[in-house]
């Protein structure tokens, strides 16, 4: 049987729907076993909206194709011999519309989505114990002396496994022992989306001031990240930063001169 022209766009969109709702999560499950990484509903809606639009535009762009689709639609909505099917289709569409409307307004217990910025803007400067740090010029002072680099990284590693690995994990992948208890979860330093795209000065600020040091704008942050300047010295913080980059093989973002 030849599929009518007017049906084909619908089939294409249905296929796209299946890929977005099941295909992508399936690939995700392969990459990250034990999870079912759905496409967030907000995004899925935009995806499908655009796919449907392109399909529609493609159909409408060609005069012949468009004429045929219109002819079929006219037949479907006009001819007597398809009256029953037509009534059923219209009923099904109306019911589906009703369900979508109901689903959108029915009371639920789920918390609404969070508009959480992972990397909030740092302040221009901050101070610890009277010493001010200007984030726009701050650099890791330990990188200057290459001969001591290995020692600093080693010291950083020790600090990391004494202080950070409970949360950030022994592989620095954010899967420490406590990780599942926290929301937001501890950062995964191996992910290209975290320390790899930040400057060292940013890390310094985040580690030194922790969750409570996050800017007021995005409150409540609920971040469990401790305020490390209370436990570590300035040099120790720079050492642990060296370790984070060295171990993950990432490089910090630098200012172009």
């Amino acid at each position: 049987m030849k599929v009518p022209r007017a049906i084909r766009p619908i089939l294409v969109v249905a296929l796209a729907y299946a890929i977005v709702e099941a295909g992508i999560p399936a690939i995700g499950a392969l990459l990250k076993p034990g999870t079912w990484p759905v496409v967030p509903a907000h995004l899925a809606r935009i995806y499908l909206f655009f796919i449907a639009n392109v399909v529609l535009l493609y159909t409408a762009a060609d005069e012949v194709l468009w004429g045929r689709v219109r002819g079929e639609l006219r037949y479907f909505f006009g001819a007597d011999e398809v009256r029953v099917v037509r009534t059923l289709v219209i009923a099904a569409i109306s019911l589906a519309g009703g369900y979508v409307a109901y689903d959108a307004v029915r009371p639920r217990l789920e918390t609404p989505p969070e508009l959480r910025a992972i990397h909030p803007a740092p302040p221009a400067s901050f101070s610890i114990g009277g010493k001010a740090y200007d984030l726009s010029t701050l650099n890791n002072p330990l990188r200057a002396d290459k001969s001591k680099f290995a020692d600093h990284v080693k010291a950083g590693a020790e600090l990391y496994f004494k202080n950070c690995f409970f949360c950030h994990g022994d592989k620095l992948d954010g899967k420490g022992h406590y990780a599942d208890a926290f929301h937001p979860r501890p950062a995964n330093f191996r992910d290209v989306g975290t320390i790899a795209q930040l400057r060292e000065s940013y890390l310094f600020w985040r580690i030194a001031t922790g969750g409570p040091g996050l800017p007021r704008e995005g409150w409540p942050w609920m971040s469990s990240m401790p305020i490390w300047h209370r436990f570590l010295s300035e040099t120790e913080i720079w050492q642990v930063i060296l370790f984070l980059y060295d171990f993950t093989g990432q490089a910090p973002r630098v200012r172009d001169s």
Binding site: L43, F50, L57, D62, E114, A121, P122, Q197
Partner: protein
């Protein structure tokens, strides 16, 4: 009307630069108790005043920020349009003159006519903006004039020159034909030079507010105006706006052509406006293609100027507006492509390459989806649980710059391919080298896409600063393909027979709505991005130097901001409709002898 607005502008600027000290008196009086720095004493320039709410006059229930915002936005819409149009009008006029084709000349004339109508509104809205600034933000205005006084004066003078040039250019059009044409073209060149100078000057104070230069940390001006003008963001903004203005001008006159096309009664008129719409769409697309790169450059400069500002822009609350931006840019690409696809109807018979359109559509979809996928996903708690964290294994990598750059480059190539197919459909290769050249082009496309994708993937394995650098070879690849294809196509077209006539006017009405969509999406996008650009200053009038001391020194909610942007967009579109209507009124010389079936001259 215009003269009045210009006079008003001039008087205000003079008043402000002369009386700036007087206006600023109260806040600087409050500062007198502070110690005067050495620099301050030496140059005689006060630092940035520290304003408090009483320093901001309030009028009734008016929200000062919204008033200035809307006035500035409207002025920018009109200014962008009025500065963008003459650039391609001159190019079209030049082509018509070189090819001795009066149709180009007529089209160019009609384009500039629309921009004439908008010119008075540009001046008026500019006057309103300056007035609003002086009345509502006297402290800021006085501080800026204290530094930019000479620049503003030059600006006002150039505005007069712009008016003179535009009037001479427009009204001298018919008189300066034939032997006098070169003179007219020179006049157009002058108009564009003055217009560009105007834009560049007004950009200087906008970028100064974002990234002040030429002043010290307390805002004390060292006296070097050039240092204040040429700040770190000045050049990127100049380039970005220059390109965007052309694209915007093209989009708006495209809407005009669509409007006339739908209203046209005779085939001649239809053909004329179809051709006009096609040209305008082409202008908009060509100027649009390099825009994403100009945007990336500017973002990079912002990040380099201030990490805080960069992160506010890309990572914070504004990140959500970038999703809207992505949707609008997607709309623009789609509308432009749809219009090109519909354009195949102008050719005789079915084009041999029409079947490729569905693959192009498929590639566009995939690229859009990558382009939309935000860095930070908005998720409900249940979705986060299903993911086992905030990081999505499939979509996460797509949120990064490498993926976006790749997508946008491929999207641009696909759009260009559509355009190329349309042009190539008109000729038949007659010699064997042409077939070989075509095969070479295909190979070139494949190699280019492979290279772009490879660079994109490679980007995940290198540090962030190297990754950003990779966008350069990606763009270079795209541009190289475009240039090579244009050259080869030109060679083939000039040496082969034309098998198809273009039937201008044989275009479905629904394609015209694509042109409207283009204009609306462009306007909206400009408003939105303009808001973001100026809002990343946060609670500063002049970033890190002069605090916003008013009650409005907070970042508005996304909903409020988008409403204001949308309202400005709507007002502008209504005004521009009025301009369209006006331009149609005096249309005595109807386009009777339009090119119904013309040889291919897109």
């Amino acid at each position: 009307m215009k003269a009045l607005a210009v006079m008003l502008l001039l008087v205000l600027v003079l008043l402000a630069s002369g009386g700036g000290r007087a206006l600023v008196a109260s806040p600087s009086g409050a500062m007198a108790a502070e110690t005067v720095s050495a620099a301050e004493a030496a140059v005689g320039h006060p630092g940035a005043p520290k304003l408090t709410p009483p320093d901001y006059p309030r009028y009734g229930g008016l929200n000062s920020r919204v008033v200035v915002w809307v006035a500035a936005q409207l002025h920018l819409f009109f200014a962008a349009f009025v500065l963008g149009v003459p650039i391609f009008v001159l190019a079209i006029e030049f082509i018509g003159w070189r090819n001795r084709d009066p149709r180009y000349d007529r089209m160019a004339h009609e384009f500039i006519k629309i921009s004439m109508g908008a010119f008075s509104l540009t001046a008026t809205s500019g006057g309103i903006l300056v007035f609003a600034l002086v009345a509502l933000y006297p402290g800021l205005f006085a501080y800026l004039t204290g530094i930019f006084g000479p620049v503003m004066l030059l600006y006002a003078l150039l505005f007069l020159a712009e008016t003179a040039c535009l009037y001479a250019y427009y009204y001298g059009w018919d008189a300066m034909q034939g032997r006098r044409k070169p003179g007219h073209i020179l006049l157009g060149l002058g108009l564009n030079l003055v217009g560009t100078a105007l834009m560049v000057l007004s950009n200087s104070w906008a970028t100064f507010m974002m990234a002040p230069s030429g002043v010290d940390a307390r805002g004390v001006f060292a006296g070097d105006v050039w240092a204040a003008v040429a700040g770190p963001l000045w050049t990127p903004l100049n380039v970005h706006r220059f390109l965007a203005n052309i694209a915007y001008g093209g989009a708006i006159v495209g809407a005009y052509a669509a409007y006339r096309f739908i209203a046209a009664r005779t085939p001649g008129e239809k053909a004329h406006y179809d051709w006009m719409g096609h040209t305008a769409n082409g202008v908009a697309i060509v100027a649009l293609l390099p825009l994403p790169f100009a945007g990336y450059w500017m973002t990079k400069e912002i990040y380099d100027y201030s990490q805080q500002m960069g992160i506010t822009l890309m990572g914070g609350v504004f990140a959500w507006l970038f999703i809207i931006q992505a949707v609008l840019i997607g709309t623009i690409f789609l509308a432009a492509n749809f219009y090109l696809w519909c354009g195949m109807a102008r050719l005789d018979g079915t084009s041999r390459t029409a079947y490729l359109v569905k693959y192009i559509a498929g590639v566009l979809v995939i690229c859009f989806l990558v382009w939309f996928t935000p860095h930070t996903l908005v998720m409900t708690a249940r979705e986060t649980a299903a993911l086992g964290g905030a990081y999505h294994p499939v979509l996460g990598p797509l949120g990064l710059m490498s993926a976006k750059n790749t997508a946008v480059n491929v999207m641009i190539l696909a759009t260009f391919l559509t355009y190329q197919l349309f042009r190539r459909s008109m000729v038949r290769s007659t010699q064997s080298w042409m077939a070989r050249a075509t095969r070479l082009q295909v190979a070139f496309y494949i190699a280019a896409v492979a290279n772009i994708v490879w660079l994109g993937v490679y980007g995940y394995f290198v540090p962030a600063n190297v990754r950003i650098g990779l966008s350069v070879p990606q763009v270079a690849t795209t541009l190289l393909v475009i240039v090579v294809c244009v050259v080869v196509d030109e060679a083939i077209a000039s040496r082969s027979e034309r098998v198809h006539m273009i039937h201008w006017g044989r275009m479905p009405t629904r394609a015209q709505y694509a042109l409207f969509t283009l204009a609306v999406a462009f306007t909206w996008l400009m408003g939105l991005m303009g808001y973001i650009r100026s809002s990343i200053r946060q609670h500063w009038h002049v970033y890190t130097v002069m605090r916003d001391g008013s009650a409005d020194a907070f970042t508005p909610t996304i909903g409020h901001a988008t409403s204001i942007v949308s309202a400005s967009t709507l007002v502008f579109l209504l005004l521009i409709l009025f301009v369209f209507w006006l331009s149609g009124l005096g249309r005595g010389q109807a386009v009777a002898s339009g090119p119904v079936a013309a040889p291919a001259t897109p």
